[in-house]
């Protein structure tokens, strides 16, 4: 924690960055994002196991970008998101300084982003045991059981789009659900509309999701929507051998192909 504050102060003092995006104590024992522009305020920054929000979502937020060059406290999923955003040309590498946090919770020193990149090559991806278990359980179900599970789980969704807004990779200003000529997804939050919306969201994150799990965490109704995108991440790794966010120059999985992609399901 001290090392994060020290580094943040150093960056702000030397004007290498104009804002540090980190975590601070919020209300009711919650933590929340902090935007520190004043070096004397760095003591607000904290880091502990409660800090799970994917802060990269702010790298593409207009009003935050507007503050200037950004320093960001980044755990492994956040670092992977930054790589994804750079690959997709949403973030300019020269506008970001990463205050990396390793698996042990200690500050990592990245003189530049290429060092972060090589760190990530070796880093492990961990999803929580709870999520792993839930996914295994789902995979063992029959088709009918899976269908019932999802159509019921998604039925309560009222389309507040917290899953979409919390996801740093859902940065489109006009989402596919808002494109209404034609209306692809029923706008209303009914069983059918919800099912198709979450299917669309998962598909649009296929090969892009970094399994941070923030969409599920953000859902006010506790619908495990992150299990959908995490599954897509797992599958694209299995099918195409790539993990998203491990390089700043990742080629998008769905806009590339290999001649030997398996096609044993095609007659």
């Amino acid at each position: 924690m001290e090392s994060i504050r020290k580094k943040a102060k150093e960056l702000l003092d030397s004007k290498q960055v104009q804002v540090i995006i980190g975590y601070e104590n919020g209300t009711s024992n919650k933590v929340r994002a902090a935007f520190i522009t004043d070096p004397t305020q760095v003591d607000r920054l904290i880091y502990d196991e409660r800090c799970t929000q994917n802060l990269a979502v702010y790298l593409v937020k207009h009003e935050v970008k507007h503050l200037g060059k950004m320093g960001i406290v980044a755990t492994i999923p956040v670092m992977r998101t930054i790589n994804m955003l750079i690959s997709e040309e949403q973030v300019k590498p020269e506008n970001v300084v990463v205050l990396g946090i390793g698996e042990d919770g200690k500050l990592l020193d990245f003189p530049d982003l290429t060092v972060m990149e090589s760190f990530l090559q070796k880093a492990k991806i961990e999803i929580t045991a709870k999520d792993k278990e839930a996914m295994e359980k789902l995979k063992k179900m029959t088709t009918q059981e899976k269908f019932d599970y999802w159509s019921n789980a998604l039925e309560t969704c009222f389309k507040c789009y917290a899953c979409r807004s919390s996801c740093p990779l859902c940065y489109c200003t006009r989402c596919a659900v808002e494109c209404n000529q034609p209306q692809w997804i029923p706008v209303q939050a009914n069983k059918n509309g919800n099912y198709e919306w979450h299917m669309l969201r998962a598909m649009h994150l296929a090969g892009r999701c970094v399994s941070c799990g923030d969409c599920g965490r953000a859902c006010p109704l506790d619908i495990p929507v992150h299990l959908l995108t995490m599954h897509m991440a797992e599958e694209s790794k299995r099918l195409f051998g790539v993990d998203s966010g491990f390089s700043m120059k990742m080629e998008s999985v769905l806009s590339n192909y290999k001649l030997d992609d398996k096609d044993n399901f095609i007659q």
Binding site: G26, T27, S28, K30, V31, R32, A33, A34, F35, Q53, V57, Y58, K61, H62, E63, V64, F158, K159, C160, Y161, A162, R164, S165, S166, T173, R174, E178, P186, V187, Q188, A189, N190, D214, R217, A218, C219, P220, L221, D222
Partner: protein
């Protein structure tokens, strides 16, 4: 009507519930499951909880459904045939175990839907609900009903208000004619009121700000840097608006299947980026801080002025639901000191 007080024993309460159900009433009551409490249609009495602090979702769905059918239509070459929804078919509904803040929430919605133009879709549903309230004996640090002029034992919006007494039995306050009718039909379950008052059995919610002062401060705070500073972390989802009992922004959309279709009213949120965008691309509220400002101003400045009601009941749902800890209470306390 003067409030009448009665006692209803714990066992009789179950009988009342079953009696209402047996009469064919649809009941909407809070049920706890996996650490979360939500209102559910027609639960069994054993499932109903009396111990929850707050449900995640509000009760507005009962009078302002998340999807509401406005009209049905059929189109073909010869023209369009439009059928109105038959609002006389709306079923009556008993809301059971409603906290006083939520009961007051109906008044906030009423101030929007029944202001100027009277919205019959809303009104016909409102007429059909009976609210059986339940005073709060627990609260958490997101609750602030006392700061917006309400209290944990308030009767506003209730037809009957129940308060759990130290004995485990309930004090019943019969507030409206609708409430009286329910009691009359089950008079054998009610007994003479005890001497114990509800005051000693309520949650302690301290007043944290004066809403009058907030309203006053907001009048000159439109350009204040407060808004940007305090909403940088807002990610612009609609969680707060969708769980809010008093948020009533909506969208109107058509849904069709072949030649038939419906015009639907769906919940919307002023926090969404595209909410106000013009066809030309011009957007009056372009960035998130403007949208956050709109949310607070609408509830604490515009509504008191136009609708003579606050747009907030202090239930704290938005603060609990927010994924990025935009705590409305914290912000209102700061706005009072602005």
């Amino acid at each position: 009507m003067e409030i009448e007080k009665k006692l209803i024993k714990k066992a009789s309460l179950e009988k009342l519930f079953e009696k209402l159900q047996a009469k064919g009433n649809k009941i909407f009551a809070p049920v706890s499951k996996d650490g979360k409490t939500e209102f559910q249609y027609n639960p069994s009495y054993a499932e109903v909880t009396y111990d929850h602090i707050q449900t995640t979702q509000s009760l507005k769905n009962t009078v302002f459904p998340k999807i509401e059918n406005l009209i049905r239509f059929k189109t073909d070459r010869s023209g369009v045939e439009v059928t109105e929804v038959d609002l006389t078919q709306v079923q009556s509904l008993v809301l059971w175990g409603v906290h006083p803040c939520d009961a007051a929430g109906f008044n906030a919605l009423k101030s929007i839907f029944m202001w100027d133009y009277k919205d019959e879709y809303f009104n016909s549903r409102l007429q059909k609900i009976a609210v059986i309230g339940l005073s709060c004996h627990k609260s958490d640090d997101n609750c602030f009903c006392t700061s917006v002029g309400l209290n944990p034992g308030g009767t506003q919006g209730c037809d009957i208000l129940l308060t759990k007494l130290s004995s485990g039995d309930f004090l019943a306050e019969i507030i409206t004619e609708k409430g009286k009718a329910i009691v009359t039909e089950a008079s054998e379950l009610f007994e003479t009121a005890p001497s114990e008052t509800k005051e000693g059995n309520l949650a302690q919610v301290n007043q944290q700000f004066s809403h009058e002062k907030v309203t006053k401060n907001l009048a000159g705070a439109f350009e204040h840097p407060f808004w940007v500073e305090n909403s940088l972390r807002c990610i612009g989802c609609g969680a707060c608006a969708f769980v809010c009992p008093a948020c009533a922004c909506f969208d109107i959309q058509d849904e069709t299947k072949g030649k038939n279709g419906k015009r639907l009213r769906c919940w919307d949120s002023c926090g969404f980026g595209l909410f106000t965008i013009h066809t030309s691309g011009h957007n009056p509220r372009e960035v998130q801080s403007q949208r956050w400002r709109q949310r607070i101003l609408h509830k604490f400045s515009y509504m008191p002025e136009r609708n003579e009601s606050l747009g907030c009941i202090g239930c704290g749902r938005c603060s609990r639901a927010c994924p990025v800890d935009m705590n409305i209470l914290e912000q209102l306390v700061s706005l009072e000191k602005l």
